[in-house]
Amino acid sequence: MNLAQLSIGASATVRAYPQAGAAFTRLREMGLLPGTRITLVRAAPLGDPLEIQVRGYRLSLRKSEAALVEVAPAAEATE
């Protein structure tokens, strides 16, 4: 499952994303790493980009990048 497929409000843990690509170096440096817990907060009015919560702050990224971020949805019980 990838980040773009999460439903709004759902939390997940990042599993992996591509090693290469300028986008992912910066996303990593912004704190989005394998094992990081994230929440998909909302999508922009036109559906793209997305807003996620990561390490206590809000970050926007496009669906095209989000689709390459593999996530494991958080278990319902933790909610």
Binding site: S11, Q19, A20, A22, A23, T25, R26, L27, R28, E29, M30, G31, L33, P34, T39, V41, R42, A44, P45, L46, G47, D48, P49, E51, Q53, R55, G56, Y57, R58, L59, S60, L61, R62, S64, E65, A74, T78, E79
Partner: protein, 722 residues
Amino acid sequence: MSPATSPSPVPASSAATRSPVYALVGNPNAGKSTLFNALTGLKQKVGNYPGVTVERKVGTAYSQHGQALTLIDLPGAYSLAARSPDEAVTRDVLLGRRADTPTPDRIVCIADATNLERNLYLVHQILDLGRPVILVLNMMDLAAQAGLRIRADRLEHELGIPVIPCEAAHGKGIIELKLALSRHELPLPRHAWTVPPALAPAVSELQASLTDHDAKGPLVARAEALLLLTDPDPLRVSGSTPLSAPTQRLLESWKTRWQGEGTDWSGELVAARYEAIGKLVAQVVVPAEATAGAAGAGAGSALALSDRIDAVATHPVWGWVIFLGIMATMFLAIFTLAEIPMGWIEGLVGWTAERVAALIPPGAFHDLVIDGAIAGVEGVIIFLPQILILFFFIGLLESTGYMARAAFIMDRVMSKVGLNGKSFIPLLSSYACAIPGVMATRTIEEPKDRLVTILVAPFMSCSARLPVYLLLIAALVSANEVPLGTQVGLLLLLYSLGTGAAFFFAWLFKKTLLRGAPPLMILELPPYRLPRLRDVFFQMAERGWVFVKRAGTVILALSLLLWFLANHPKPPEDAARPEDPLAHSYAGRVGRVVEPVIAPLGFDWRIGIGLLQSFAAREVFNSSMSVIFSVEESADEETGRARLREALRAAERPDGTRLFTPLVCLNLMVFYVFAMQCVATLAVVRRETGGWKWPLFQLGYMTGTAWLLCFVIYQVGRALGF
């Protein structure tokens, strides 16, 4: 840990004669400008880093003992592995790579206490430098509201550097910070973290190579080695100081080896830093509610409030209503509020001109001062009220956090032409004036996206075109009063024509000339905050001053030149016909020279003079027409425009037919929409792109498009019998 970071005290200044240099660094949105303003007050100098278009802010602060301290406000950065020109400057100054800026003796890092983990990432990189660092934890009040208790003393103990809790917006902690700045000796950071074992040998080898072959100090070499292993693109890291061949070879051989082993070196390094930060944060931050909700936001936190605002502000319906409302308010303010000070300026300039006229005896010098210099100065400052209101709104939107939402909302639209949401505000600003628009492109990281935005920004109809449109619409309509519907309809058409052109050419350039990777939209959405009006006004004044310096000098010089061209050489005394002086002048001659080029568009040499003089500012077309068709001046704007309209209607070609037919009026408007006629904008584009290549290209393609379109419209119109 690096061998050279034994905590030995370092004096504040190496040379007793020089005041110590402090650099202020931090993430965007951490409150850096507020802190800088609080420390330096009005003692600031704003300029540019030579060679790049990044704002350079240096101020003077005073220690508790009254000693002057130099404070450099470095551009906001998320990482020393720089991605934008702004971040590159921050990296280069800290690494001592810039010849124009002294290497800071001490570094003041500011971190947002509500968002400590990500803010500490940059701090962590800076601690690698082994230089004296003071850490400021800003927005402690907001952190407390969010239910976070931060033990600054513990952090101080762990890092071995002064850590100052602070609320810069309320002036709290400033005295404590000044005390720390005043300390004669500062301890060096105790900065221990474990470089991943797979990478550690590479870091040492690269450090050695950078010391031996690239003449770097040992600590800078280590920091650079770590950056080279963070960003996969070594060219971006080395910037203006290319790596030596041995270092390059060493780096390549390690990368090849890791590739074979399947080691994600960059990922491991960043993860190791975040792991070290995570351990630190676990010791330092005590959440009041041990089990926070999924979103991690306490009930009373700024994030929770922000979320409630965003539920509306980025709502699929209300989001647009608010967005359009804010944009409409901004433009209403620019076009209506500015009228008042613009009236004062006109009055003041008129009054000054009268006084000066009385002082200087009539003659060439009199005309030069009154019609050349004073009129030129007026041409500059008349736009200032609009520009300042625009800057005020931009500053307000930035400091509240709405700017990021505007980019978030508009990103999808901008992505259709290959740009991202950050291009939206520069384009929008260009409706007031392309110069602040071009200056606002500095926030766009990707150089190609930035260039495309600069290239198309002048298509947005600026406020200097509006008087021209209004005059031509009045001349176009046969009735004495232009029906409001016609006027609004035509204006809307012209504005959308320009906007459409901007989007079309952006799309075209992104497809052809400036192809690049699809742009990213990695953007922090900071919590909404109440604007700090003091900072907004500060910024408005600063940017306004930059406008006056950049555009003002060009407009003034050009006004003087055009005045000279329109008044020299003087016609012989016996000339009787009223339009003769101008026809006889250089301007008139140039008009006749360009006539064959513009004749296929329906324009004659007199319109040619107007087009030429528009290069000072497009609205000069109106006064140019007044002079050419000898319209009596009037203090009242309405009367003046009515008289000018009558004169345009009466104007004839040599064969006795009307010059300003509806078709010609329409064509002139289209020409003004598309043509690049503003030398001040070209001068600013040259500065921002670092050469004449792009401004000349812009002049060529925009004016070429204008000519081609007008040619088609006029020829087709004529064939159809208009």
